[in-house]
Amino acid sequence: MFAQTFDYTAPKTLDEAVKLIGGGAKALAGGMSLIPMMKLRLAAPEHLVDLGRIKDLNYIREEGGALHLGATATHYDVESSALVRSKCPLLAETAAAIGDVQVRNMGTLGGSVAHADPSADYPAALQALEAKIVLRGANGDRTVSAADFFVDAFTTSLGEGEIVREVIVPIDSSGASYQKAPQPASGFAMVGIAARVKKAGGKVTEARIGVTGLTNSSFRATAAEKALEGTGGSPADIQKAAALVAQGADANSDIHASADYRKHLAGVYAGRALSAAIGRAS
């Protein structure tokens, strides 16, 4: 399988890349989604700009009480980073659940986010973490929340000529967990739920639930979050909240799972994610 012919540039600086992308070129990061699409001729960019040689995009660091992850940090970088594992274990847990070893060695955080596959794993975690996504365009940086970034299937609020530069996630003391029902062959999430919970005085003071795979775009299940906040987080409280996760969702349906089954899975996996998160909340 061969892709349509294209021109290839591998710039060393972000400015150079942004200039080329502003001129209509397509960004290539790990290529774990783009290259299969090009081989199947679902995508036929005329010019690829490989971000893989830009050192300024490949980092994971702590800064101002948050973790900053450069766009080309691979899933393996994220899952194996001591910093991410200790300061934001939810993100490391989510990265470890993506695809397989070879995919995680190449695939990148920025690439996955920009591609916005409705069954991708990261969006659930980024929604639950209320992450910020920094975009770089010709006029400099612009920061958007994960909630505003993911718009629809394969559609984000990235503007013409913009690329994802970094992802910022908070460091806090919440307990969290990512649980997914993987499609058996591809590993993509038929439904994936990221839960993040804070507890104080025996009560859940804050709950955040990110959902992926269920609908065209990831989202936060705010009704379920509200139902859990203020409760003691008992199994019955969790069940009540989990039952609200898929309420009113325009669920996707395909050969792997019908809409009704996906909604059922969302409740089951929300229950698992919330139980684990509450167990980990101090």
């Binding site: 399988m1 061969f2 892709a3 349509q4 012919t5 294209f6 021109d7 290839y8 591998a10 290539l28 290529g31 774990m32 290259i35 299969p36 090009m38 081989k39 690829l48 490989d50 893989g52 393996y76 695809g99 397989d100 070893v101 070879q102 995919v103 060695n105 190449m106 062959a185 591809s186 590993g187």
Partner: protein
């Protein structure tokens, strides 16, 4: 486009089309046919090679992306006529039948024990999720990885 890379400790330099996949470059341009082309959709893992120490699927990567890199294929892991301990273990434990998936299985297995000298059975199975075998039912492959890890201790 001109690319320069090291494959199995040997330097290569070729002019390639940007759309040439790494697996086709290795097999057809360089002549290293040990790396197999299986599903070509990044599911089966038969094309797994090491790129700067990381196991990657060479069917889902353009050769130009490997410019300047250090690539190791199945042909490059034995040394001085002595099999790599993962190869030895696949032989001893009957970790293959038809052998089609084996080059990729061995490269993925090598990644597992390079990163973790004492992998549990669950960790081995997790590490092999990107490789498919239609013959063995995986049990002998898992045994081979265990044996290879033990041989390295």
């Amino acid at each position: 486009m001109k690319i320069n890379l090291t494959i199995n400790k040997k330097r290569y330099s070729h002019d390639v089309e940007p759309r040439l996949l790494l697996v086709h470059y290795l097999r057809e341009t360089v002549g290293l046919t040990g790396t197999h082309t299986g599903c070509e959709t990044s599911l089966c893992g038969a094309c797994t090679v090491e790129l700067d120490g990381k196991a990657v699927k060479s069917c889902t990567m353009f050769a130009v992306q490997a410019d300047g890199a250090n690539v190791t294929t199945i042909e490059g892991i034995a040394s001085d006529g002595k099999l790599h301990r993962v190869q030895e273990a696949f032989w001893n434990e009957h970790g293959l039948q038809c052998g089609f998936c084996t080059p990729g299985m061995i490269m993925a297995s090598k990644q597992i024990i390079d990163r973790n000298g004492t992998p549990s059975e669950a960790e081995i199975r997790h590490g092999l999720e990107g490789n498919l075998c239609r013959c063995t039912g995986y049990q002998h492959i898992v045994n081979a990885v265990k044996a290879a890890a033990a041989a390295g201790r």
